[in-house]
């Protein structure tokens, strides 16, 4: 993180032509990760900085997404109910290439076609992580990663923000002696940089918070508002104006 170029909040607003309101809204919607907000004291008082490349790329993406209203609606549904049981249609995941049967089996997710054919955001995240791991991991390692990730989320209860700042690592170690050699695989979910003994080899790493963001953005990009079966919450919100 140290060698990344930082940009102050007011410079971001000016460069990207957005308002404070938009930036705070996107932050609330979970479209901009908390860890990108870097608070520093400067001679003009407390200021917030961002990793420049990341924030610029992210804001471009958000701005390109079919107008702010649609985005808000979608983000509402996608991140607000991160904890709850948001359901994502399998069809969409397949369309995005997030899902295939083999991976589903490894993750222990069974497609029940006769039901409404949906799964939770949490499972979508799990699938996305596993998909990334598959480039280097073996089947049993994928299953292990799936269980580890599930355990981590379970332990925190209902909140996916538990993944914030954390990275999932796949490590392997070769053991040999007496003419027999074996390899053990280890899955670790940790905050920040991981220091391990030199014999342990890091095979792959996945930034979990980044992945969650990715899943949300990709889903937002491919969902149309009418696909999202959460009509009630939106109506309630519209009625809020004359609430007092």
């Amino acid at each position: 993180m140290e060698d990344e170029h930082l940009i102050s909040k007011k410079d971001v607003l000016e460069k990207m032509g957005i308002s404070y309101g938009q930036l705070y809204r996107w932050k609330r919607k979970g479209l901009i990760p908390e860890i990108w907000f870097i608070r520093r004291s400067t001679f003009t008082g407390q200021e917030t900085f961002f990793p420049e490349d990341k924030i610029v790329e992210r804001i471009e993406r958000i701005k390109n997404m079919k107008g702010e209203h649609a985005l808000d609606d979608l983000a509402d549904v996608i991140s607000e109910h991160v904890n709850a049981k948001i359901q994502i249609a399998f069809g969409k995941l397949k369309h995005l290439g997030w899902f295939d049967e083999e991976l589903g089996r490894a993750a222990g997710i069974v497609i029940v076609e006769n039901k409404d054919g949906t799964l939770s955001l949490r499972d979508a995240l799990r699938l996305a992580v596993l998909k990334k791991l598959r480039r280097s991991a073996r089947d049993e390692e994928i299953a292990l990663a799936s269980r580890t990730l599930d355990g981590a989320i379970d332990k925190a209860g209902i909140d996916l923000t538990v993944v914030e700042g954390k990275t999932l690592h796949l490590l392997r170690k070769q053991l040999s002696g007496g003419g027999i050699s074996a390899e053990i695989s280890v899955i670790v979910i940790a905050m920040g940089e991981l220091v391990v003994d030199p014999e342990l080899r890091r095979v792959d790493s996945v930034d979990l918070a980044g992945m969650l963001q990715q899943v949300k953005l990709d889903l937002a990009a491919c969902c149309a508002p009418e696909d999202v079966n959460d009509e009630s919450s939106r109506n309630q919100k519209d009625g809020r104006e004359e609430h007092e």
């Binding site: 007011k10 309101g21 809204r25 008082g45 309630q236």
Partner: protein, 246 residues
């Protein structure tokens, strides 16, 4: 969740196990051991949920304690409530005292009592006429504060931020002047390290830094630094150490 769910009413002292219920009402002293899922939870006596609490309607008019997260559509606190975990609701109305150990997120928040938040408070609309103490960030699209006590947040950020004493504009008449007299007697004011927004109007506010597009500083403010990009006006009865156009 099963199809048939029971309703429970505890009017003496009682303990029930967590699980799915239709309605749970506690008017004596009651405790729920484990995660609770219900349509309605009413605490008018002394109640405690030892686990997650996921309900549609939550009303605390007595005392209510929650050891983990609270998820609800509507949460009303007119008594005393304490939540140790996260609070995720659609609507939060607090006319009593509410203490949240971690973050609160709600579409709509109205505070006329006292609100304490250990983390951040996120909302679309935040209205306060009572007092609050938010350790982290207070963010909402619209923030309207009529300080009725000490209102403190580390940072306040949103599109439109409006802090004014009762009766300073839109509360005319007897009630307005009464509220004005009371609020100045109580010395309600807003304190923050940083306030950021597109349209900002402030009265009775102390802040280190205020940043925004259009900033209007009304009476009784103490601000160390203002950075604005479009317009700025400062009332004579306010103290601004430094201002810059950016």
């Amino acid at each position: 969740m099963s199809e048939e769910r029971k309703s429970v009413s505890m009017s003496g002292a009682g303990v029930i196990a967590g699980g799915s219920y239709s309605r749970v009402s506690i008017s004596g002293a009651g405790k729920i051991n484990g995660d609770l899922y219900a349509e309605e939870l009413k605490m008018s006596g002394a109640g405690k949920v030892d686990g997650h609490c996921e309900v549609v309607q939550l009303t605390v008019s007595g005392t209510g304690k929650f050891s983990k997260a609270v998820i609800a559509d509507e949460m009303k606190v007119s008594g005393v409530a304490k939540v140790d975990g996260l609070v995720k609701v659609k609507e939060l109305k607090c006319s009593g005292t509410f203490r949240a150990g971690e973050n609160i997120s709600s579409e709509y928040v109205k505070v006329s009592g006292q609100l304490h938040v250990g983390g951040d408070l996120e909302a679309e609309i935040f209205r306060a006429s009572g007092g609050f103490d938010i350790r982290g960030l207070l963010t909402a699209d619209r923030i309207e504060i009529h300080p009725g006590g000490r209102c403190r947040a580390q940072e306040i950020g949103g599109a439109k931020i409006d802090v004014r004493r009762y009766g300073s504009r839109d509360h005319a008449g007897v009630l307005g002047s009464l509220m004005r007299a009371l609020s100045s007697a109580w010395g309600g004011e807003v304190e923050a390290d940083l306030i950021e927004g597109d349209e900002i109007y402030l009265e009775n506010t102390s802040a280190d830094v205020v940043r925004g597009k259009q900033i209007q500083i009304g009476p009784n403010c103490k601000i160390k630094l203002i950075e604005y990009s479009e317009s700025l006006t400062v009332h004579d009865d306010s103290d601004v150490e430094k201002q810059t156009k950016i």
